[in-house]
Symmetry: C2
Subunit: 186 residues, 2 copies
């Protein structure tokens, strides 16, 4: 996978996470999650610009022209998805007092997006998701991990969890309690 | 759930399905799936207009003003997500010969969106998803069902499958063969 492919895939993954977080921030009236959306949008903007710059550079060669055109079109569409997620989060940041009325419109299941901080010395620290079978044991499915300034989207069985990681996960509304023993240090 | 809540939730679900289908149409160079996206966009537009009409009607009462404002903002964001999905599908419909180059950018896993037609007299006909345990047995997870002009988004264990249903499902790339015995009539 070349650099442009990697950028486009990261844009797609980031925009999907932004939508998940934006809807969750709305449903749970959570300004902290809404602010994460704003931060992620900045990342999408930078990737979008990098893709356009690269496409312009490569388009000088006629054989690359059509590919450059398509890369810009797709990147632009993803950028607009990210913008829409941002606007949803913006409603939460501006109009938080108005939410209970919209909350129930979008809450169609008991599945929620949760944010968990993994403590050093916890059961998860130093283990892969495959080893601990978190999804099977708790019903909580990790969709992204924030590690400092980095993000890991769609972690798989081989992804190792460390103390300090912030897990974004999908799970039943009551899973906060279930997951606590896994992420708390001893 | 009132009529506006139902409309907003249907817009959200439809826009999510459109994105799934749009990316799949791009990755698999599939014009049939790209055309489904266009059809779904029409549905989103109609819901969006119905939400605005309702919000305008209700906003005459001062107590409803803020709710109307938020409903329009969220509905507008979702409409723009649907538009972005449409633009991605449009690349497939216009520029299909150019795709192999973009395909690999977005294909980050072996999971694909599939479309399966359930035949009358097949194992699935007349059974609920809970009874047949399709996901457990095949690894194929039904995300939406098209039944004539209607769509069922996020079907659950209690959803009954009928001959003629079109299943949109997420599953491993090789699951076409695995699911065939379940959907073919005898």
């Amino acid at each position: 996978m070349n650099e442009d492919d990697r950028r486009l895939l990261e844009m797609k993954n980031t925009s999907e996470l932004m939508l998940d977080l934006a809807y969750s921030s709305l449903i749970y009236q959570n300004k902290v999650i809404a602010k994460e959306v704003i931060e992620l949008e900045d990342r999408v903007d930078r990737l979008h610009e990098a893709i356009i710059r690269s496409a312009l550079g490569k388009s000088k060669e006629p054989k690359n022209f059509d590919r450059s055109l398509i890369m810009i079109k797709i990147s632009d569409s993803i950028e607009r998805i990210a913008d829409a997620a941002l606007d949803i989060a913006d409603v939460v940041l501006r109009d938080i007092e108005l939410h209970p009325v919209v909350k129930k419109s979008l809450e169609d299941s008991d599945v929620v997006i949760q944010k968990h901080v993994v403590e050093n010395g916890s059961l998860l620290h130093g283990k892969t998701l495959g080893e601990i079978k978190l999804a099977t044991e708790t019903g909580v499915w990790v969709i992204a991990i924030r590690r400092g300034y980095d993000w890991i989207y769609g972690p798989d069985e081989g992804t190792t969890i460390s103390g300090g990681d912030i897990l974004y996960a999908r799970g039943p509304a009551d899973s906060e309690k279930i997951i606590a023993p896994w992420i708390k240090g001893k």
